[in-house]
Amino acid sequence: MENENLIDGTNSKSPSFGGVGESPYIDLYKSHHESIKKHSTVVMNHIRDDAFALFEELHFPTVALENYKYTDLKAALSIDYGLNINRIPIPVNPYEVFTCDVPGIQSYLYFVVNDAFYPVNDARNKTLPKGVIIGSLNQIAENHPELVKQYFGKLSTTKKDGLIAFNGAFAQDGFFMFVPKNVVLDKPVQLVNIMRSDVDSMANSHNLIIFEEGAKAQLLVCDHTVDDVRFLSNRVTEVFVGENATYEHYKLENTHTKTTNLSTLLIDQQRSSTVLANIITLHNGQTRNTIEIDIDGENCETNLCGMVIADKNQQVDNFTSIIHNKPNCHSTELFKYVLDDMSKGGFTGKLYVAKNAQKTAAFQTNRNILLSKTAKMRTKPQLEIYADDVKCSHGATIGSLDETAKFYMQSRGISEKEARLLLMFAFTNDVIENIRIEALKDRIKILVEKRLRGELSKCEGCVICQ
């Protein structure tokens, strides 16, 4: 059943036969790659056929793959999603629909609606420092082809990963951010990914973030679903952090239970750079975050952390990899999960220390609390250390709430329910403390508390932009 008009009013294409894995998408690419390319840009098209060929070889990942054993995409991929290959504008104005109200957060605000960058018209964004470029990857690749070509795909095309390959074949646009040498942004940049559609739909977008030497900025990414249909997003973000640059990446997911959120974050660090990435899943359907940080210069600082609160049938798998290629770098990793009901969590912490990466200090921690007997957590540290003069440690625990602490609180008159809540909140506290945007930190504290109280049981919209 060929469905030419799947997305209401957008004349979009759908994979021809209701999704059973890759074959409809392979057919779709073969029959429509001309239009995919026509509505994208030379730089992106340059890798497209190769990415498709790789996808044809790898297919979508299954649990049979070691790196995907905690993410089962079978159910999510059995759905017939529409793709907006012909770039029909989605009838929504995010600037009108979403008013940002983190008290005190002053951000440069941008939107990607489904898979397309939404044209900017926010006056606040006109105050960006000179030389900073933020906008549609598609468009900026047309205006600054040399700049984009130098970086685009450099991290993603080396990966043998079906989702990344799929993204390379189908993504036509995304968010682009360039911060030139020694420029420091005074406010965080905020990117809101909005899923808006009347029918089940899929979005592939590719983000490219470039920090030159000494640049410094914070990016806050919010994932947000609007309509009560099934969404699958498959986003790839490449980040290049130059010498002495500082990049902070905050990701906040608050999507509804019908969402499948596949997200790949690839970061490359040059000498003496600092990266903080904090990946928070407050509410979702099924989520797979792949986060790979390559440390390619000496004296780097890397802090990767995240937390998950899940209940019902929610699933979250964080696959993380930190690769120390150079000596004298320091990385810490901390992930915490609170799982209730039938929810499922997965965590992989891959840590690779190359032979010449002496004096590496790398510490990894994953702590998990199961609130019900039916919740499941699977965790896997994966250390490969080839240097001999290093300090590395890892620890993973799966437990329940501390009964002794709970009793101590109850003995002071705190109800059991409140005591549990305070303990859960305390458990996530050190991840929240790793947020260096004060307004965001305060807001997230409130949201986490709401979430733990069960008052955020459905998506309230992007938690930042209610």
């Binding site: 602490a405 109850q410 003995s411 008159g413 705190i414 109800s415 305390a426 458990f427 996530t428």
Partner: protein, 252 residues
């Protein structure tokens, strides 16, 4: 106020309390002494509702209410307070949040409005002074990284905040140097009123120089085997517990 009759309690199927009787009236201070492992902390745990212990027999009433039916938090609301032998560290829960939650739940139980932020902070300040508690401690997580003495002081601080009718001090003196002991005892004495009472568990007579008991009981093998006035404490200090054990064993 408190009446314990023929109390039996188990942990992991092992009987620890074996028919304990005790009556406490307002205004009284009772000292409970006894060798290690006698069941003193077990008694404190049972009175505060620790689920790890199972009461198999006997009854406990507090102002006429069946205490054993109440949840730990309701026992606290009714006015029972335990200064733990081993106070618990709770990383990530600030002292301020902890005390605010506790105090407000006490107020809710009495149908009172939550305290305003200023009133709460004022109360915190006053009570901190009572036990000469460092301001910094109040800004930290509950007991996290506190020294032994600081933890004990924190217990008395919490006691002052919650203003209990019956306080149970479980070895609050152990691990304290003389200065800290004086401060802790001072705090307890200042909180003493004709309408409240204390059970002071200790196995040294030392503390009783500062907190003078009206009654001294010896707990041995799960029961109170001897009771007397404060002079009994001196006798125990001098003669140890062996003569008591012997007395018990020789009794018919």
């Amino acid at each position: 106020m408190l009446q314990i009759k023929n109390l039996h309690a188990n942990i992991n199927g092992k009987e620890i309390l074996k028919g304990l009787d005790l009556t406490v009236r307002p205004g009284e201070i009772h000292a409970i002494m006894g060798p290690n492992g006698a069941g003193k902390s077990t008694l404190a745990s049972v009175l505060t509702g620790n689920q790890a212990f199972e009461v198999t027999k006997g009854e406990v009433t507090f102002y006429g209410k069946n205490l054993l039916e109440l949840s730990p938090e309701n026992r606290s609301h009714e006015g029972i307070f335990l200064s733990f032998q081993y106070p618990v560290e709770i990383p990530g829960v600030s002292m301020v949040n902890f005390m605010r939650s506790a105090l407000n739940e006490h107020r809710k139980y009495k149908n009172l409005e939550p305290l305003s932020a200023t009133d709460f902070l004022r109360t915190m300040r006053e009570k901190k002074e009572l036990v000469e508690m460092d301001n910094k401690l109040a800004n930290r997580s509950v007991n996290e990284g506190f020294s032994g003495g600081e933890k004990k002081r924190n217990e008395i601080f919490q006691m002052a905040m919650l203003d209990p009718r019956l306080s149970i001090l479980d070895e609050t003196d152990s691990g304290l140097d003389i200065d800290a002991l004086r401060i802790v005892a001072n705090g307890v004495n200042k909180l003493k009123r004709p309408d409240n009472a204390s059970i002071v568990i200790t196995h040294y007579q030392r503390l009783l120089d500062y907190i003078v008991p009206d009654f001294v009981h010896v707990l041995y093998n799960g029961r109170i085997v001897k009771s007397g006035g404060k002079e009994l404490a001196y006798e125990l200090e001098e003669r140890g517990y062996d003569w008591i054990k012997k007395e018990v064993e020789e009794a018919p």
